[in-house]
């Protein structure tokens, strides 16, 4: 089945790319663990947006929504577990600096 992609695709793609770039920058340019988590969240938002936009353009909204629900569930679990890791790390090292993780034994 071939689907003709309308011009709106490029509009949605541009905003997805901007959000994705923002999230990547937020993750890479900071050393604070909570900010890295915020960067991951922004990346997830961009993916959620693009999944729904693709579903809308392809006329498969129900399938896109089902996938987005899965993404949101995974997002919550990822955030909660990383938040636990951050708190555990802070209790051990008294710091939120990502560079301090290099000194850990693993």
């Amino acid at each position: 089945m071939t689907i003709e992609i309308p011009q709106a695709f490029w509009l949605y793609f541009a905003f997805f790319a901007l959000l994705f770039l923002d999230g990547i920058w937020c993750m890479l340019a900071t050393r604070n663990m909570v900010r890295v988590l915020i960067g991951i969240e922004i990346l997830m938002k961009s993916v959620t947006f693009f999944l729904i936009a693709a579903g809308y353009l392809a006329g498969r909204m129900a399938l896109a929504q089902a996938l987005v629900i899965t993404v949101i569930v995974i997002e919550v679990v990822v955030v909660v577990v990383i938040a636990g890791v951050i708190l555990g790390f802070f209790r051990k090292r008294d710091s939120l600096d990502v560079s301090n993780t290099r000194e850990m034994k693993g």
Binding site: F9, A58, L63, V76, L96
Partner: protein, 161 residues
Amino acid sequence: MIWFTVLLVLLVLAALWASMASALLRATLALALTSALLAVVLFAFGATLAAVLELSVCAGLITVVLVSVTSLTQPRSLKEQAADRKRRLRRFWPLPFVLIAAGVGLSFVKAPVDIILRLPAGDGDVRTVLWSLRQLDLFGQILILLAGVFGVLVLFRKEAK
């Protein structure tokens, strides 16, 4: 279409604020605003169930988790905060310009796209799709939730004396 584009611009601006805000609480609130705006975008697309979940879970629950993490970690001294602000400014000042340049560059891209999609037949109700087509996803979601609960229990386990 114009109001929708304005909504998308606001979404990107809120995300930019979340990544550039100097205080963690402000960044968390900006992230909640991003989630709320994304929920409005999802409503505009007609994805009501996903929008409700985005609003309640991402703008609500995740914000609570992030605020809790911020409040449970110790505040830094004023000197450290000032030094960190300078460092952050040095790392983040190109971001708005990069985003504007990328936005302008992407607005010129109008290449034809020919994608062949093999999607399952029919696109009924989202509940039908979830329960009949994507059962494995539901199973995976339950496993991930259990793994998350187990992970948090392990992380907060008290060490044996």
